[in-house]
Amino acid sequence: MNILELAIQNLTSPPVLAFALGLLATAIKADLRLPEAVYQGLSFYLLIGIGIKGGVALRDAEFSEIALPIVGTIALGMLIPFLAFSILGPLTKLPAYERGALAAHYGSTSLVTFTAAIVFLETAQTFVEGYMATLLAVLEIPGIIVGLLLASKGMSRSVNFRESLVEVLTGKSIVLLAGGLLLGAVTGSAGYSQVEPFFGGLFTGVLTLFLLELGLIAGKRIGDLKKAGIRLVIFGVGFPVIAATLGITVGLLTGLSVGGATVLGVLSAASSYIAAPAAVRLALPEASPGIYLTASLAITFPFNLIIGIPLYSVIAEALAGMGL
């Protein structure tokens, strides 16, 4: 299968189509929202499920094999938000708190984009290291913290900033992901086989429903695109490519396979729309969701889903071919 065929297959996978369906439903004003409780149940399932799978893979990996990629991922988690913050200054002229909020989103990453990349590479029969979900968990947090710190620099904050950080770190998405990792690492493949039909077999189906809901939410944000302006769109499409290239390079240098490096590229390019918005909401209330959520969910997320993933796999091939 060539890259175009893969891209089309990616585009026509049920989760991506469900996202499109959600956009469409918003356009015709159809109300397809799942009850709030069910929506929260689905995201609970996805977070702990991906954590468990990552933990199982982590346990099966050699320490010597994963040490370097983990260090590289932490470095990316601190570098990418800096980069985003710096580029946003001259590009958009937004105040520091808005740029910090955006940096927190692009410094963190997205479980759903990650999963789409895994499915994509599986279809392409490219080998991917099993412990990539561990790197997902590792990349989730530092970017948020760096982004918030960048935003708070030079602000005379009345709200307790540390309090917010604690709230973020003990929030649902971090604790479920980390808890799942722990659980998976302790139970190993033997234990996992007992719950595989639930956490494994159903995953893509649940993801499909979840993406339908994300599509509905993103659809409502599309109206904000005009307000957000062309410069934000440029950032939302251009920055992921830069971040992906960085991530792929770090991946190859720390010994990942081409498939693994592609995934690290995707993780770097992906922006958060679950953990980061909640964190920014708590710690940076002055920042506007009309900017950060629109950029993350209505620009970068579909871009990565549709164009980014196949593109980054081509970049990874090319860089690897250059002997990196």
């Binding site: 309090e163 709230e167 994300l214 918005p277 909401r281 209330p285 969701p289």
Partner: protein, 99 residues
Amino acid sequence: MRNIERKLVTIVIEHALESRLIRDLHKLGVKGHTVTAAQGSGPHGRRAGEIDGGNVKLETIVSPELREKIIDHLEQNYLDKYACIVWSSDVTVSREQHF
């Protein structure tokens, strides 16, 4: 004994702030509260993403003095920054010690 006058303070706030608000209220001295899940829209537009789980509606029965303190606190820490509104009304309760 049965017709003790109290204030019912109702706060609607975005979900992400729920636990922080409850902590703050108990620090201010409320003795109890009741929370229900809610959705809504307001003049500021939903300032938080719908992605975070809608609003919550929190009700607490307090003395008139405590009501003042709560509203002060909300004015300073919540009303401008978050999707949050508050209203109060008069209610009658029958057991003084409870509120």
